[in-house]
């Protein structure tokens, strides 16, 4: 993605988009809500909520097994959602789309199934300083269990991957596991370059795309990587649904993860035969309503166009960086890359010496919802030398008025802590 793509795409109608989101119509503490925490979870458009509700009102039934009418409708709605997700990320086949409960389960699936079948003492998993705990802890678990080494790609001062020593970092590596976009800094990473580098040393490449699938066009074939994990609730979909995409040959060769209904072809008293892809990895009753809801979320994003989503967020990030700097000057430090083309719409901030937890509490009094804390990335926090930041993260429904409200609330927070009788 480059800044120029905004010229070739239809600009989105910000007011119309915002009107699609019922929660954004509410007030908090007497002010209209200003939701700037989409990196944690996105709001849901009425189009998605309607589909979920219609599922329960009209076709709720267990899938794949009932021969009756509503069971057929439920099954086909669920499998159509799978095909929608496949097209959304340009995957070669819908049988490569595995539904999990969140991105975390998707990454754990790879660690348990592929990892435990393929990695042993001394093998290296290479991750990056930008990772979310979901892409750290499963590898730490493998390290503790069987002596796998977890190695880290360091960061540059402005929060990009430092690939200076990549060749030596890759020694002994069996898996490169990186996020395509950082939830803390917004940094976009060179996925294709790292996938190629991984393959060159015979390693696989897993991409945690939780923070990029909602915001940028995704093409797993162009990435030429091996696994991609992401999560529904950050992309206008319901909670309780995540996705693992994997290359068929790999998925075919991997042992099942969890065992139970749906994932078997046959069970005897002596053993079992796993089912075909994708069901082999989907044990138990799937999150049916949530899968169908995710399909509706994909439809919604498609109706806007992911190029337009990206263009909108870039313009808004640019506006935010400019206006915040103008107004707050040295009081405000925004971490991460400075060029809008290198980052998503994530602003991790330090404002004066006000602790993020206090800052976000005061902002909340004005209806401004931001995230304070380590953002599930404690190693990155330690690299930045802070315990926590205050993070505002943008999405398709935000507009300049949201940034203005944030800016105004920052000033008020500064006043509050400065003028309190001490």
């Amino acid at each position: 993605m480059s800044a120029s793509s905004s010229q070739t795409t239809t600009p989105l109608d910000a007011a119309a988009v915002k009107a699609d989101f019922p929660l954004l119509q509410r007030e908090v503490n007497g002010s209209p809500i200003v939701y700037l925490d989409s990196g944690a979870t996105s709001q849901k458009p009425r189009q998605v909520l309607k589909v979920i509700d219609a599922y329960y009102h009209e076709i709720n039934a267990n899938v794949h097994r009932g021969a009756y009418h509503i069971a057929e409708l439920a099954t086909s709605a669920m499998e159509q959602a799978r095909a929608k997700v496949q097209r959304f990320i340009a995957a070669p086949s819908s049988s490569e789309i595995i539904f999990t409960k969140n991105a975390t389960e998707a990454i754990n699936l790879v660690a348990h199934s592929w990892g435990r079948a393929n990695l042993s003492e001394g093998d290296v998993v290479l991750i990056t300083g930008l990772e979310h705990h979901a892409n750290i802890v499963p590898w730490h678990q493998l390290a503790a269990e069987r002596g796998v080494e977890v190695r880290w790609i360091p960061l540059t001062d402005d929060g990009r991957l430092d690939l200076h020593d990549l060749d030596s970092l890759l020694e002994g590596v069996r898996l490169v596991a990186l996020s395509s976009a950082s939830k803390v800094l917004g940094t976009l990473t060179p996925v294709r370059e790292l996938a190629d580098a991984a393959h060159a040393v015979g390693a696989l490449c897993l991409v945690d795309a939780s923070q990029s699938v909602p915001h940028l066009p995704t093409n797993v074939t162009e990435w030429d990587c091996d696994f991609v994990a992401f999560t529904g609730h950050k992309m206008c979909g319901p909670t309780g649904i995540g996705v693992l995409w994997g290359r068929s040959e790999l998925l075919e060769a991997m042992p099942p993860f969890m065992g139970g209904g749906e994932m078997i072809l046959d069970v005897t008293m002596e053993g079992f035969t796993p089912n075909e892809l994708p069901w082999k990895f989907e044990a138990g009753t799937p999150p049916i309503a949530q899968i169908i809801g995710l399909g509706a979320a994909v439809d919604y994003l498609d109706s806007i166009g992911m190029d337009s989503v990206r263009a909108h967020e870039m313009a808004l990030t640019d506006y935010a960086l400019r206006t915040l700097a103008d107004r707050h000057g040295d009081d405000l430090l925004v971490h991460g890359p400075s060029a809008v083309a290198d980052r998503g719409g994530v602003l991790s901030m330090c404002y004066r010496d006000i602790h993020p937890h206090d800052l976000s509490q005061v902002l909340d009094q004005r209806g401004v919802c931001v995230r304070a804390g380590h953002h599930c990335a404690k190693p990155l926090m330690r690299l930045l030398g802070v315990g926590a930041t205050t993070r505002a993260s943008l999405y398709v429904y935000n507009d300049e008025s949201d940034i203005d409200a944030l800016s105004e609330a920052l000033t008020e927070a500064g006043d509050f802590f400065a003028h309190q009788p001490a």
């Binding site: 057929e72 159509q80 046959d266 069901w279």
Partner: protein
């Protein structure tokens, strides 16, 4: 009952009640391949024997519903005596008939069933076309065929 005539055509019920080529063959010389419909519990065994390149014997074992049993029975009459290549073309044509093309859902034209080869007539098997309207039953109709497909692969391997 209204609506079911498309599914339970006369010829289907006939094959269900009087299945052709039911039974077993000695292995070896025959090859046996097992298939499961994981969703309803149907199990099928396809016994196959070749004479050179020709399917000289075929038998069906196992249990299943009227659709899976009649489809298996019709399959045996459609492929017995054919060469492996001809049988594979029947197989392909049948599976094409049974597949719900994603293209259809999008309004795009359905994928051709013959890939440039001469079209093959499905004869009686056309009676199973109505199954496509009942997607859950497609797996019943294709169970014998997929198992047969694996059997051919095993023999050629």
């Amino acid at each position: 009952m209204a609506g079911l005539e498309d599914l339970y055509r006369e010829i289907i019920l006939d094959h269900y009640r009087s299945p052709r080529n039911r039974g077993e063959l000695d292995t070896p010389p025959a090859n046996m391949t097992e298939g499961f419909n994981p969703l309803c519990g149907d199990e099928i065994r396809v016994y196959l024997e070749l004479d050179g390149d020709t399917i000289s014997e075929i038998r069906i074992g196992g249990q299943g519903c009227s659709i899976s049993q009649s489809s298996a029975s019709m399959m045996t009459t459609a492929v017995l005596g054919r060469t492996v290549d001809e049988a594979r073309r029947v197989l392909k044509a049948f599976k094409a008939m049974m597949s719900i093309h994603e293209g259809d859902l999008d309004g795009a034209p359905p994928t051709g069933v013959t890939d440039g080869e001469e079209p093959i007539s499905l004869g009686d098997l056309e009676a199973l076309r109505g199954v496509v309207k009942f997607p859950v039953r497609i797996k019943c109709a294709t169970l014998a065929w997929n198992t047969f497909d694996h059997g051919l692969d095993e023999i050629s391997a």
